[in-house]
Structures are given as structure tokens and as C-alpha cells.
Symmetry: C2
């Protein structure tokens, strides 16, 4: 079987780097133990191997089509939704009160990583349902919860996020879908939504849209947006499911992520579409952001999973493909060597390994913060909440942007074969490209980090992050032989301080537009430091383990970790110099460039 | 009509930057004049608009299939080959003696740029024929020339390059296709070739493979490779075309570049396949490299053309798509602004513009060197030959690698729509991805630059390049207001000197393996300097023009150039710091990393 994740690395992450079993000391997670976590992960892998990976390619080639007003998806979607419902995977992190397993978010994260690496499109259906159901349980009335959540967690009904409209892509304050009060918390809905993932398909009995709309006469902009449940089929007075006047007007044909339909829907063409308010009026955007924050971590995870599958495919290929000889041994009568033995190929593999395992580490770190936030209170709770908030745009953007280069490097390792459909890497390259776009483009993540997150509570989140990094540096220095990395990261942190000071001055002198103009670069700059920090943590763990007695296999594994941190610091972290130079050069060319200068 | 190239920029390049009409002072080009060049370019644009761009999408969607042993391509291929033959486009740069137009290579380059930007797959058929025909005219006997070349230049017969074999991808010395002497210069051929672009199709009457094979008992390795013409149909004693025992065994399904079939062929299954030796025995690889050198410039040009089309599509979209508001004006009741007005979008457009126009400039510079080499003699000739040799791997690799990021940025400008087939950018992203692989991967280009080109004739090529750059810096300083760029480029040149010194020491102390281990990084480092040099030339030209009286339209255009050089130096050239840091850090981790460390 082709490998799409490294089990050894997962074990390393949850047992050696993050002490996940310590979570069971907290009441909320006290019913679990380490053995159960292992079982969950094993089961996830079995499901991925049996059900998801085998249809990876077919779901891409036989993509969804709109026939007679309904979207037909690959037949395996029905089976997957069913199995995910039955196995409790959709509900896994839900509280027992809401029918869930109350599994730590980090364990759920590992399971998701396995699923997504095996088949991103297939996983997306289940994840969208989980997110939508969580929104209802968080803000909806008991009636809404009882009506919708059990069926969604069961895999019978599909949940979606219906935000985007033709005239309002990233600019949600410009949505025009309208909700007119009908009776109780019921509203008549009219409007058009685009790019709704899993927004219609025949793999489930019903589709439940968590939809943003504006109540008639609501205040303009973001402050007048409310959240609704708008089902494809609503329940009539007799308790029967009847159509709710939602028409699927088209299915997009996409570069990748083709197994999951993205659809355009039109609501209320016959004036017979109803939605139910979730939570308070005009609080829709704030509520939706709960789901979107988790969804952003999910996007990072997805990128990371896809890049993992591509990396491991490239690793397998380069180990087995003989081609060429060492530069110093050109004798054509000698045997060709596997291409992994060429330094440039090793470099490309190290790049991929550093991106995949560095990103996974950050994402699991975020999950851990989310778990700790859940089980703690007071200042502790605030600390974890702030760290999670701060790192969310990084966890979304870094894996999705570097995922493009990483899967591209996987193609390069294959040479011409990588460009062909015979191997899955070309699909991974296509699948990963959506990640830098959906749930907020990279540009928007940059604005979130620089414009909101590092300013949050007078910069408290940023300071907490600095403390975390300092702590990791201290621990690394205690181990010895990691000074180089400790020093480099320390220097980068000083550089960060300088850049932030510089930008705050820009803010004061030139205003917020200029301050934010290179937010994308700042995001990359910040991300490289964040990922280096995660690599330092991994390097410290590996070094510690190596100093103890360990098997030959483990020695190889830990040496791999140490070469990869070395790679990341020497080839990637150094990019911060270029970014800092630009961020502080003071020439506001992207502000001053005029549209007409592009014309000819 | 959607724009895929900028006519104004082409005019700028050939009239203002490169004084192309000066070529007509040389005997070889004396029959031409500037007006004729303009006409050629106009005609190329008409053909591209009328014949090629309209089928861009369809050739991708209705890709070639293998039916009953023959490859069926899109019906427009036949028409395009015919028109290209009739219009003299395939033969345009051939000498009059060989039935060509004797057009300067740089004008042919501009025409190719237009074609490739309109439809890369369509252009590839014609370009492959031109390259193959040129090989025959350069090294073949008069009989071979008479038999094959006129039909190939006419568009009736397709030329190919048949190099790659299953067991020998980039390692050509390992090919095993065998040629057994038959009579005269005729040989019996047996073997398998893969990834042959346009290697079989029904858009022409015959396919002429320029094929590498080993003559029975030839020396092992590269020194035993010969070049053959192996036609799909050979001419029998009665002068009739009969099948030559070549079987098309499969057509690859590819990520992009789908309009052109890449096929696997098997020769001599019935022991009835014949080939004719081109030039001398065992000189095949050296001869083939003539075609491959030109083909490498062609790959750069292709990348650049595809990126141009993607950039201009993104420009048009961002000018017309309203979304969001300035950061300082969040009032939802105000009108949304076109997304081009957001600084981050301008940054992405400047990035694309800098890559497209910087790469085009380098490629035309190479074409100019090729022209000057053709018309000069002695030391002059050697100078241009060396500069061309030196810059060829850069002209191949930089546009193809940065073309991936550039087309990816175009997708990003479109947001979700960029990921959909409704717009052409997702196709451009797929089409461009092959360029870093075929005609030698980027890794191989890096080895060529660092391992051969900068060492050529005791480093003479490198010194000539330094002189060229110094000259451009001098001219820039004379204009004034370009000091910043002159200084930056000068600093980068000093950095280059340091890096080269360092690497030469590595060569002496640690050997060639270590010396070459980061050749890909060196290539990027060198390329950034080369492209900055080209931008300095463009900036100087624009600045000079601005100081004279010019129209408002021209003022905008030249200002666009000045903002783009500013962009390139501040955002891209600064990457050299990171690359130099790594290139000189002395830790040979990709040499020392062991294969087993990747395992778990």
C-alpha cells in the first residue's frame, strides 16, 4: 500500500512532543486514556486505507455533475458519510451531552490529518457537517439542536457554510441575501450563494445550510448580518420532509478538490424558502467566525495532509527509481543509483519533510491550545485563547502557501512522470491549490495577523507567543548541541521585534493602509519564525531521545528530525532576512502604484 | 478580445531596449527592414487571435486519445500546421538556402512569444518541427535534407525529439535503443522511447523522429550515442510512403500541456524499423545539444508567454471586479472598489509583471546574442556565443520556476473564480508546470550553470557577463535617479563574486559533489541578478524616454516600468541575501543526509 502519512511521526508528535495523555488529568477528558487514543488513531487509519484512499483518484476523475436539478456525487460519498456517522467520527469532538465522544481536539486533529491525507475531497463532506453542527449546538435553540444535529452527526444530513455571494466574495459585509420575518424564529429567505462546498448532492438525505443573510431593515454592513439554518428540505406540519425552494443552478468545474461539489444555489425563487435564525439577530458574522476559525485550522491541516501524501509518494519513488550516477563517478558501465542519492533530490525531499512535519507540528500545537483553553479557566484560559487566536492565521496560511511549493517539489522529484496522471502527485498539486483561497485568502490572513491579532489586548497575544518561544529556546539550550538553532531563532525574534517597531511607526506616521500594505509578507516572515520554533521543539525532543538508548530504527528517525531542523533553519528561516529588508525599506510602492500604470 | 500579450511592451523591447533594426546593417539580415519586422509581428498576432487563442480551452478539454493505434488530436492542429507552413512560420529563421525567411532570431522570438501566449500546446507542434528540421539541415546529408526538410517546414510532416527512455530519463548516457548497420547510412532500429511530444498524431501526414540511439558495439555511455532520422512512414523503392514499424503504445494523460500528445513509441517490434544516421557516428549527443540549447530558450519563452497570458487575465479581472473597500473606509454604504486598488493585489500584479517582462527581456537578450553570433566573426562571435551559452540555463530555468509562482499569483488575484474552469488561469497554472521539467529539469540547469558554464574557457563567459552588467550600470548612472538600482546591482555582483570564490574553495577542499550540491540555489541566485540586470536596462530606457516629451499614455507605460523595476529590486533581488547565506554557510547537510534517515 502506498503510504500517505507517517505513523511513526504521529507517535512522535502526540507522545514525545506533545504530552497528549496529560489531557486526561482534566475532568472533561478524564474518561479517556492513552490506549484509547491509540485505538482511535488505528481505527482512523483503517478507515482511510479501506474506504478513502482507494477512491482518491476516481473521485477526482468522475467528478460531480448536475443532472435534473440535483448533484450526483461519487457513490462512495454515501458510504463514507454513513461510516463516519456510525463510527462517531463526525461527532468525535462533541461533548457527550450532544452525542459526541468528547475526544480531545488534538486527537481528532490527528485522525483528520490521516483522513485528509488519504482523500481530501472525501473528508471535506464530513468536516463540513461537523462544523455546521457545532455552530447549531453553540448558538441554536434546543429545538434547532434536536431537529438537526443528531442527523448531521449521523452522516444522514450534510452541513454546509453558505457565505459567499456573486457580488461579495471576501467582502462579507456586502451580502444581500434577505430574510423576512415570518413567524417565531422562522424567516423567508431570498438570495443567491456561490461556491458552497457540498452544497447539494445525492450522498445524503438532506442538506443543511448554515447561512449568512440580512434581516429586512437590518443595519448596513457586517453589523446587520444574521445566521440562519436553511435546509434543502424542511419539515412540514406533519413532520414530513418537503422541498424548501432551493435550486442548484450550477456546479463549478475546478482545478482540483473535484470530488466535493462546489455549487451555486438560488433560494426563494418561488417565494417558498424558509430559514431559522440561529442565536441573536445581527450577530451572524461573529457566530460564524467560531466555525471559520476552526475551519481555518482545518484548511492548514488539509494542506499539510495533502503535502504529506505527496511527499511520501515522492520519497517512495525516489528510493526506487534508478537514474544517473554520482558526479564523481560518470562511468556508464556502473549501475545507476536511486535518484534519492542525488544531493538536489535530497534537498527537495528535506524541503517537503520540513514543510509537512513543521506544519503538522504547528497545527497540533494549535489543537493543544484549543484543548487547554477548553479545560482551563481564568488567566490560563485567556492565555490559550489568545495564543490560538494569534496562531490561527499562520496555521491556515503557511501550510496552504508552502503546500503549493511542497507538492510542486514532489512533482519535480518524479520528473516527467510527476506531470502524468499515472501518479497521484499531479492531483495533490491541484487539490492543495484551493487552500490558499478558501476560508479567507492569504492576503486576508495577513491582514488578520498584522491588523488584528498582534494588536489584540494591547499586544498581549504577541507577548505570550514570545514567552512560549523563549521557553522552548531555554529548554533547547539545556540539551546542548542545539545552540546554533537556539541562536538563530533568538536572532530572528530580535528581527521580529525590530520589524514590529518599524511597522508601528509606519502606522503612526502614514496610517493603517500603509501599515497593512505588506501584511502578506509579514505573515510569511512571522510564519517562518513560528515554524522554526516548532522545529526547535521537535529537534529538542529528538536530541533528548537520541542521548538515551534507542534502536537503530529510532536512531534513524531522530537523525532524520535533526537533519530536517537543520534544513529548515539553513534554507528556510534565512528567508526572514529578505522579508525583513523589504518590510523595513520604507518605500510604499504598492500604495503609490497607480492602476493606469499597469495599462499600455 | 482577451489580451494575452502587451503589444506596447513588445514595441518597447524591440525598438527601445534592443535596437533590433540595427541587425539589418549586417549582410545576412540586409534584406529586412523595420517595417517588415512590424508586419511580421502584426501577422503573428492576427494568426494567434484568429486561429490559436479560440481553441486554447478546447484543445485542453478535448485532449488527444489513442484510437486504433493512432493518436487523434484536436482538428485545429491540422489547420494550424498548414497555416504555419504556408505562412513560412516554421521556416522563418531558416536561411533562404533552406527555404526560410532568414528572419532575425529575435523577431522570430517575438512571434513565438505571441503564439505561445495564445496557445502553448498548439505552438509546440510547429516549434518541434522547426527544431527537428534545423538539426537535419545542420548535420544531415543533402539527401536527408531534400527528403525531409521541405515537408517539415511546410507543416505537412511533424518533427520530434526522441530522447527519453523508460530506464533513462535525464541520464541520456543510459539509453539502449539500438541501431544495427544495414546499408549505406541506413540502420535497423529497435527500442522504446517515452514522453515524445507530438510523437504521433493525425494532424500531419508523417512523423519524423530525430532520435538518439546507440550503434551496435559503440562505446558505452554518452560517447556512443548517435543521431538518426526515424520516420513513422519511410519512402520505399517506388517512392511511396510505407509504415516503418513504429507502434504508439500509449498516450500520457497529463496535468497540463494537454493539447499536445506525449506518447510512448516502440520501434522495430517486427524487425522492420529503419533510421538514417544524421552527421557522424557517436556524435549524436553533441549534435542534439544544438537543438536542445535552442529548445531550452524555447521553454523559457513558453513559460514567459503562459505567464503573460495569466498576468493579463488577472489584470483585466482585478480592474473590473469590485470587492471590499480601502482599509480606512469601511462604511458599507459606500461603493466597493475594484480589487486592483488593494495594495496586496497590486503587489501580486507587480510580481507577475516583473516576472513576465523581466523574463521576456532576458530571452530576447539571448535571441539578440544568437543573432549577433550569427552575423559576427572571430572574438566577437566567441563573445556572443559564450554569453548565450552562459545565459541559456538561466533563460530556461528562471521563467519556468517563477512561472509557476506567477501563474499561481494570477489564480490568487481571481480568488475562488481562479480555481474554476470558467477562467483560463487554472489552465495556465497547469500548462506552465511542465516547463521546469522538460528539456532538463531545474536541477540539471543548475549543474549546467555551476558545473560547466561558469567554468567555460577558464571562466571567460562569466567575466564577459560581468562586463555586460557593468556597462549597463554605467549607462544607468549617467541617466541619474537610478542610483539605488545601480548600487543594489553592484552590491549583488560583489556578493556573486564572494559566493563564487567560496564555492571554488569548496570545490578544491571537498570535491565536485559538494561544490554542486546546491547548484539549484546558485542558479536562482544567479538568475535574480541576471533578471535585475535586464530590469535595469529596461528602467534606464524608460527613464530616458520619460525625460523627453511623451504622451500621457506613454508616461503611464514608462511609470509602470519604473514601478516594476522598483518592485523587482525591493521584493525579489533581496532574495539573494538568503541564497548567499545558505550557499556560503558550509554545512553540507544534503550531502550528509542518509536515505535511511528519511525512513521511519
Amino acid at each position: 500500500m502506498t503510504k500517505f502519512i507517517s505513523q511513526r511521526n504521529i507517535r512522535f508528535m502526540i507522545k514525545e512532543v506533545f504530552d497528549v495523555k496529560s489531557l486526561t488529568n482534566h475532568d472533561y477528558y478524564s474518561k479517556h486514556n492513552e490506549k484509547m487514543f491509540d485505538m482511535v488513531i488505528d481505527e482512523a487509519l483503517k478507515l482511510a486505507v479501506k474506504l478513502m484512499y482507494p477512491v482518491l483518484e476516481e473521485m477526482d476523475r468522475k467528478y460531480p455533475v448536475l443532472e435534473n436539478g440535483e448533484v450526483k456525487v461519487h457513490k462512495s460519498v454515501k458510504k463514507i458519510m454513513k461510516e463516519f456517522g456510525k463510527g462517531g467520527w463526525i461527532a468525535s469532538a462533541f461533548s457527550e451531552e450532544h452525542g459526541g465522544e468528547q475526544l480531545p481536539i488534538i486527537i481528532r486533529g490527528v485522525a483528520s490529518f490521516i483522513f485528509v491525507a488519504s482523500n481530501y475531497s472525501a473528508w471535506a463532506f464530513t468536516e463540513l457537517s461537523a462544523g455546521a453542527a457545532e455552530l447549531i449546538t453553540s448558538f441554536g435553540s434546543q429545538e434547532l439542536i434536536d431537529t438537526y444535529v443528531p442527523k448531521m452527526l449521523d452522516g444522514k444530513w450534510q452541513g454546509t457554510m453558505a457565505l459567499t455571494e456573486p457580488q461579495a466574495g471576501s467582502s462579507l459585509s456586502d451580502i444581500t441575501t434577505i430574510a423576512v420575518p415570518d413567524k417565531n424564529s422562522r424567516f423567508k429567505i431570498k438570495g443567491v450563494k456561490i461556491f458552497i462546498s457540498a452544497g447539494d448532492h445525492d450522498g445524503v438525505e438532506n442538506i443543511i445550510h448554515l447561512m449568512l443573510a440580512k434581516i429586512e431593515n437590518a443595519p448596513p454592513g457586517a453589523k446587520g448580518i444574521s445566521l440562519f439554518v436553511v435546509p434543502k428540505k424542511r419539515i412540514d406540519d406533519q413532520g414530513k420532509l418537503i422541498l424548501n425552494d432551493i435550486t442548484t443552478t450550477s456546479v463549478y468545474h475546478k482545478l482540483g478538490y473535484r470530488g466535493t461539489p462546489a455549487v451555486e444555489i438560488s433560494m426563494g425563487e418561488k417565494d417558498d424558502c424558509y430559514g431559522w435564525l440561529v442565536g441573536e439577530e445581527n450577530r451572524g458574522l461573529i457566530q460564524m467566525f467560531q466555525m471559520m476559525n476552526e475551519a481555518r485550522i482545518g484548511v492548514g491541516l488539509a494542506s499539510c495532509g495533502i503535502a504529506s501524501a505527496a511527499y511520501l509518494a515522492a520519497l517512495e519513488y525516489t528510493e526506487n527509481r534508478p537514474q544517473g550516477r554520482p558526479v564523481t563517478l560518470k562511468d556508464p558501465l556502473t549501475k545507476q543509483i536511486p535518484i534519492i542519492e542525488h544531493a538536489d533530490v535530497k534537498r527537495m525531499l528535506l524541503f517537503q519533510k520540513s514543510i509537512v512535519e513543521g506544519s503538522l507540528s504547528l497545527i497540533l500545537q494549535c489543537c493543544m491550545y484549543a484543548d487547554l483553553k477548553k479545560v482551563s479557566a481564568g488567566d490560563e484560559k485567556e492565555k490559550y485563547a489568545l495564543l490560538l487566536d494569534l496562531l490561527t492565521p499562520v496555521a491556515k496560511a503557511f501550510p496552504s502557501e508552502y503546500g503549493i511549493s511542497s507538492t510542486s517539489a514532489a512533482i519535480q522529484c518524479f520528473g516527467g512522470y510527476g506531470y502524468c496522471e499515472d501518479f497521484p502527485v499531479e492531483q495533490y498539486f491541484r487539490d492543495v491549490r484551493i487552500q490558499a483561497i478558501h476560508e479567507g485568502t492569504t492576503g486576508i490572513q495577513g491582514m488578520d495577523l498584522l491588523g488584528r491579532k498582534i494588536l489584540l489586548k494591547d499586544g498581549k497575544a504577541g507577548l505570550l507567543f514570545i514567552e512560549e518561544v523563549k521557553k522552548s529556546i531555554r529548554v533547547a539550550r539545556e540539551i546542548g548541541e542545539l545552540e546554533f538553532f537556539a541562536d538563530q531563532l533568538e536572532n530572528a525574534m530580535k528581527q521580529l521585534e525590530k520589524v514590529v517597531d518599524f511597522l508601528f511607526n509606519v502606522f503612526g506616521e502614514k496610517g493603517v493602509d500603509t501599515y497593512l500594505s505588506d501584511a502578506s509578507l509579514f505573515l510569511e516572515f512571522y510564519s517562518l519564525i513560528v515554524i522554526s520554533w516548532q522545529w526547535l521543539i521537535q529537534g529538542t525532543t529528538a536530541k533528548k531521545a537520541l542521548s538515551e538508548n534507542c534502536s537503530k530504527k529510532d536512531t534513524n528517525f531522530y537523525n532524520g528530525k535533526l537533519f530536517t531542523i537543520n534544513y529548515f533553519f539553513r534554507y528556510e528561516l534565512v528567508k526572514t532576512y529578505r522579508l525583513a529588508t523589504r518590510l523595513m525599506d520604507g518605500d510604499d510602492l504598492t500604495i503609490n502604484m497607480k492602476t493606469e500604470y499597469f495599462k499600455d
